[in-house]
């Protein structure tokens, strides 16, 4: 499928989903759907670096929060100086820019070394950025920051529907970028790094440059996902924005879905995201995080290629194999090769 066709198909699917949700007429669908879509973006963004290049990023929450807090900072700047507010898509671009730059900077410092150092640095990045935000009174410090969400926006109407649409557009964009990368020189370069970095380097693949590109794209997408978050939640607090649940979810979703293609994070995010929404309502939010953690461990141990891998191996088993094996078994009982 060519990229424009792919994009059109997804725009059509999004339109159907949006129209269906409007038709159901319950705002909760938009609130829940926004979170699931946000995880689609985070999972896909994580997978660009984690799945394609094989570099683990534990700091998804940090990049996400960078986007969210750049929105808060701009909001404060605008309201204090009585300026005209920036539109959300622009805020998303700014959030993406900030996160992308931070991702690039950190990648530049740590990606020249072994992969584990990058993972550890991202883990520490979340703690440090949280420290900075807690000490930065302008964006609310440890008390948190309020953002007043407009009631309505023209021409869409309800503001939550507007947020939902924006996140859906970002999700479609992220999926398209992921798929575009997968089938390009860039994607093959990423795959060569994942499979054998030394061999790739020796064959003339510019590994550092490719890794930096992946980190920047991945970080920028996470920041873009975070930028509208203050408008969604209304009250932004450091300990929840930097919470481990964003980090664990954006890792668990691609790993459970499957890391080698854009479909994996999508499946993982839709599945886990919806599951969590249901579990939060019916059981409790702590238990649903425990479920995600357990699923993550179970999947990496038992099904290393995720759901996509499971389906793939299932489809590749030919019916003749079973017939043949049964015949062998019937002829020589107990001696199955």
């Amino acid at each position: 499928m060519r990229t424009p066709v792919f994009l059109l198909v997804w725009v059509a699917i999004s339109a159907v989903v949006f129209a269906g949700s409007v038709w159901l007429g319950n705002d909760y669908i938009f609130f829940a759907g926004y979170v699931v879509l946000q995880y689609v973006v985070l999972g896909t963004a994580w997978n660009i670096l984690g799945g394609y290049c094989g570099y683990v990023n534990f700091g998804s929450a940090a990049f996400f929060a960078l986007g969210a807090y750049s929105s808060v900072a701009i909001y404060r700047l605008v309201t204090e100086n009585d300026l005209y507010g920036l539109p959300l898509p622009l805020l998303m671009l700014i959030g993406g820019l900030v996160s992308g730059v931070v991702g690039f900077g950190m990648g530049y410092l740590t990606l020249r070394l072994r992969g584990a150092f990058f993972a550890i640095a991202t883990l520490a990045l979340a703690v440090v950025l949280q420290t900075l935000v807690v000490n930065w009174d302008y964006v609310g410090g440890s008390r948190g920051a309020y953002i007043i969400r407009p009631e309505r926006i023209e021409p869409i109407g309800n503001y939550i529907q507007y947020l939902f649409l924006l996140m859906m557009a970002l999700a479609v964009g992220a999926l398209t970028i992921a798929r575009l990368i997968e089938h390009s020189r860039l994607g093959y370069g990423f795959a060569s790094i994942r499979d054998d970095e030394l061999a790739a380097e020796a064959s003339g693949v510019p590994t550092l440059r490719l890794k930096l590109i992946a980190t920047t794209i991945s970080g920028a997408l996470m920041g873009m996902a975070g930028a509208p978050f203050p408008y969604y939640i209304g009250y932004l607090q450091p300990s929840s924005t930097f919470g481990l649940d964003y980090a664990v979810n954006s890792i668990a979703m691609p790993l459970i879905g499957g890391t080698t293609s854009w479909v994996g994070p999508l499946i993982g995010a839709l599945l886990l995201g919806s599951l969590q929404q249901i579990a939060t309502v019916t059981i409790s939010s702590a238990v649903n995080l425990l479920i995600v953690g357990c699923l993550l461990v179970i999947f990496v141990v038992i099904a290393p290629n995720g759901i996509v891998g499971l389906v793939h191996t299932y489809l590749q088993r030919k019916p003749e194999d079973f017939v043949g094996r049964r015949r062998v078994e019937a002829e020589m009982p107990g001696k199955v090769p």
Binding site: V56, M106, L109, L113, I120, V248, I251, L255, L296
Partner: protein, 291 residues
């Protein structure tokens, strides 16, 4: 902020003491990450587990937390060996440790934390022991016993580990397995068994470190996360698997953190370790006493 010599001296001394405690926290990771090359980012979770066990026993039976944690070390050793076995079979054998192995440990960290939250809530827990309250005064110096005792026991632990690694057969085998697994196999030693033992020892130190942690400060399940940056910063700065290097790096970080906390406020302290880590990675990735 008025700069006073008294304050500075006190900050340096308490930094050295805290550094001794950091050495205990890090020695396990120096063993697993530094020597065995297993990126066990779940180590702080095991430390917190150790803290909670010390807390439960102390709250119910009134037994000293350090004694409890020493008694618990064999159990932690078995736990560590079991985890290494799973890790080896699922990841190391298949050559997938870099991505899925990391995710595995991250999942363990997460599960431990959430389980503790579910059972104990997010309240701060603390222990009681005779040495927690008082402190010693030498002129301008002020040494709280609650930090001095963990520091001394921790130095004993590190020294013991160093002797284990350099003097005993198994310890030398651990050092050897890091260098050449095949050569070890040719000497008729099973490298997987050696690694299992070493990882078990590394987790066993977490039991003791957990007791120190809850003696020094009240503990709640997510405290461990603050230590991830510290632990790996110290481990890298110390030269990856060199225990003397670990002690020096731990004290260095302790001093810098303590000075930062004294003169700029304690809320900035967590950022110090990250700065340390990035600076080390950028300037001297081999660490202070790197091989």
């Amino acid at each position: 902020m008025v700069f006073s010599l008294d304050l500075l001296i006190n900050a340096v001394v308490s930094g050295i003491l805290i550094g001794g405690f950091y050495a205990a926290v890090t020695s396990g990771v120096s063993l697993s990450f530094g020597i065995l090359d297993i990126v066990n980012i779940a180590h702080p979770a095991f430390i917190i587990l150790g803290s909670y066990i010390a807390y439960i026993v102390n709250a119910n039976l009134g037994i000293d937390p350090i004694l409890t944690s020493i008694a618990m070390m064999p159990a932690f050793f078995v736990l560590g060996s079991g985890i290494y076995q799973v890790y080896y079979v699922s990841f190391e054998k298949r050559g997938q440790e870099s991505l899925r192995g990391l995710a595995f440990f991250f999942g363990l960290l997460f599960i431990t934390e959430v389980t503790l939250v579910l059972y104990f809530g997010v309240d701060y827990r603390y222990v009681e022991a005779s040495y927690i309250g008082p402190s010693w005064h030498f002129g301008i110096l002020d040494i709280p016993m609650r930090i001095l005792v963990p520091c001394l026991v921790s130095l004993l632990l590190t020294a013991g580990l160093q002797i284990f690694l350099t003097r005993t057969f198994v310890g030398r085998a651990v050092m050897a397995v890091a260098q050449d697994q095949l050569a070890l196999r040719l000497m008729a030693v099973d490298p997987i068994r050696i690694k299992r033992i070493a990882f078990g020892v590394s987790i066993a130190t977490a039991s003791l470190a957990g007791a120190f942690l809850i003696i020094i400060q009240p503990v709640e399940p997510s405290v461990g996360r603050e230590y991830i940056g510290r632990i790996f910063a110290i481990c890298v700065l110390g030269g990856m698997g060199s225990l003397p290097g670990t002690v020096i790096a731990a004290m260095l970080l302790g001093i810098v953190e303590s000075i930062t906390a004294t003169f700029y406020g304690p809320s900035w302290a967590p950022a110090v370790s990250f700065g340390f880590l990035l600076l080390t990675l950028a300037v001297r990735p081999a660490g202070l006493l790197g091989r």
